[in-house]
Symmetry: C2
Subunit: 413 residues, 2 copies
């Protein structure tokens, strides 16, 4: 477990405005960690709608299965998250553990089990002792000041070196509506720490179909546009809850994709999700550099995205960034291996503002000094122009350092 905060961490935490209809409590159930909280329980106002996006892994955790089965058009009354144990690859015991967890929360809060959403993050393959939740839920103190948000973000951390919070406020029907989110993840995916979780809350009233649409679409440009090590967890979960409490202030429900307010909400959600996604990359295991990879003029957006991810996931690109080496040959390699349309002789590559390659050759004005200066920065933009079409995509990653190997080679022991 890392004890020093990532050098790429934000310098301060955002002020989190209140979101009516949500209350948080945290507790220390002692699942794995000593001397820290490892349980987050959130209560949600009656009528809260919910949308979710989950890992594409074929070996999903028991809580992912549980949440998927409860999404369709239903309401949410509570969210229970634990860190320290992922309840993944735990077979029948895992299913029993989620049932017991929901039962404990249902009795404590007097709400139906089908409205209870669950997420677990931590070691894979260890049975989750859900009975420990029973010992803590009765003594909880719920609240929602700034400290409660910070405590919530801290309770779900595993190898994270800092809690991740983001917020955005918008005007809807003349009233301020807020979207707040928390996330955990360090390494796109460290499956022991199985792995990326994010919970986002808004006081707007939004129907399930609109909520699911904006969440699914914006996941593409945020959490699905980051990679630390190309590995995919068994537990990745993003849940978006809309309490609808803003109705009390006269904000009408948003229930159609054609409602112009949907796009306003979508943009605010994107801000929050991209902010959280970047914070995950900045907490990437061993990361010392934050890298934006932008691919332009590909044959399609999807093609651009595959090429961008091929670059972002390449160990050779990532080690070159770690070594502050302006090694553009490795960008050529990663474009070439993506399997997407690319014409070597139209390719141009920039590190920051420095064009290093053009028309299938090293730039005639190439300056090793200028390119090297870019690589010494903490934030690095790599841009690739394929010269083929209109497709573009941007993804974010970090460098691959010796510390990544140390963290992941020594983790379980």
């Amino acid at each position: 477990m890392s004890t020093t905060v990532s050098p790429l961490a934000p310098k301060s935490y955002p002020d989190m405005p209140e979101i009516q209809g949500v209350q948080f409590a945290t507790a220390a159930a002692g699942l794995k960690y000593a001397d820290r909280t490892d349980v987050l329980l959130a209560t949600l106002a009656a009528g809260t709608t919910v949308a979710g996006v989950f890992t594409k892994s074929r070996c999903t955790s028991a809580p992912v299965d549980w949440c998927r089965d409860r999404l369709d058009g239903g309401n949410a009354c509570a969210l229970l998250v634990n860190s320290g144990n992922a309840n993944a690859f735990t077979g029948k015991k895992g299913k029993a553990a989620v049932e017991l967890s929901a039962d404990i929360v249902s009795r404590a809060l007097d709400c139906p089990t089908d409205g209870i959403f669950l997420a677990s993050t931590g070691v894979i393959g260890e049975p989750l002792p859900a009975e420990k939740f029973a010992h803590v839920v009765d003594d909880l103190t719920f609240g929602q000041d700034g400290q409660a948000w910070l405590d919530a973000a801290k309770a779900i951390m595993t190898t994270d070196t800092y809690p991740k919070l983001a917020t955005s406020s918008i005007d809807l029907d003349g009233e301020t509506v807020t979207i707040n989110g928390i996330a955990k993840g360090a390494g796109m995916i460290a499956p022991d720490m199985a792995t990326m979780l994010s919970f986002i809350f808004t006081d707007a009233a939004i129907s399930n179909n609109v909520l699911q649409d904006i969440l699914s679409v914006e996941t593409g440009s945020s959490f699905n546009a980051i990679t630390v090590d190309s590995d995919t967890s068994t537990s990745d979960t993003v849940l978006l809850f809309a309490t609808g409490s803003a109705r009390g202030r006269g904000v009408e429900p948003v229930s159609s994709l054609d409602d112009p307010r949907t796009e306003v909400l979508r943009a605010a959600l994107r801000d929050v999700m991209q902010d959280l996604a970047h914070q995950i990359v900045r907490d990437g295991e061993g990361a010392r550099k934050f890298v934006e990879i932008s691919v332009e003029r590909a044959e399609s957006d999807e093609s651009a995205r595959k090429i961008a991810l091929s670059i972002a996931n390449s160990p050779l690109v990532k080690t070159a960034v770690a070594g502050e080496d302006a090694n553009w040959g490795r960008i050529v390699m990663a474009v070439g291996k993506a399997g997407e349309p690319a014409d070597r002789d139209r390719l141009a590559i920039w590190f920051g503002d420095v064009r290093v390659a053009v028309e299938g050759e090293r730039d005639p004005d190439y300056s090793e000094d200028a390119a090297s200066a870019v690589m010494k920065e903490e934030n690095i933009i790599i841009r690739v122009d394929l010269g083929l079409g209109d497709g573009h995509s941007t993804v974010w990653t970090c460098d691959l350092t010796k510390e990544y190997v140390a963290i992941n080679g020594d983790y379980r022991s």
Copy 2:
């Protein structure tokens, strides 16, 4: 550049029998390295057939383009290989350089340019000063004793810490026929060192169609079944030359896939190619462990192969191996992310002979000590049983160590 030999290197070089119809010479053209050879020239007897397999990169090097254009049913009279410069991403200059190279060899050996095969390995993006070949080809001494094979294998090395040679002899029509091969590569693919080259020679007479078939098929179970870092070079080239000199000893040409001798040749070729492929993995940058990953009872062979490569390419699996950590949760993760049919509750996983997981849970008899003992070995077998069908696949990889990051972070500078 690494100066110490990989701890996984073979303890000795094989004795390479003579192959009639091939002669080697090496020279130091001073392309990049001081005090070592960097040019290999091989002459091939009249009537030598040739087959080739090349990188799937969309950004291929100029010599790859050159060889591809000259494969179809043609004969080979010479092979020129240089190390230190890949002649990749060099635009029009790259094309001119291969033309000049072929021209120099054609004049020196009095053979047609279309029979000359070329390969380059080294830094990407630097123009190849092919005129330097002209200074060395006239003073060459050709030969083919054991030392000549070793010298040939050494001249094509880049980050390799040892030369790679393999041989297999078989009985064909009562006569001994031999297949000898050399290879270079350290890291499946380090594109600066762009990257994997192998040249294989036999004195059997084999028609182009049979030669291409056995080479293509056996590449699948050898060079395409290894991975060090999942990166794919712009220059990967495997060429197989059949001099046909064994005809002089009464060995009839093999010109049909139905000829039973084709399978004998195929098996011998597989031995040589797998041997060379394993040697490349054992020279993987920073490698300390040789890992065989075997996936059984998948829905198809191709599905098994994708799952095996997903495990073999996972940075989290590879760092766990480096840390001697029996972290089977990461195997579950890598199976899950492969996107292939898998049923969590049928999955079983072994480290060596120790079953660590079965039926979607940790093995009830799991022993951390037994699993940890396996991980301390130099050669580790990871076996996954999906319990679905008849598909199986085996791939080979190495661990991901801090040395890999150091080698690739510091390489160009």
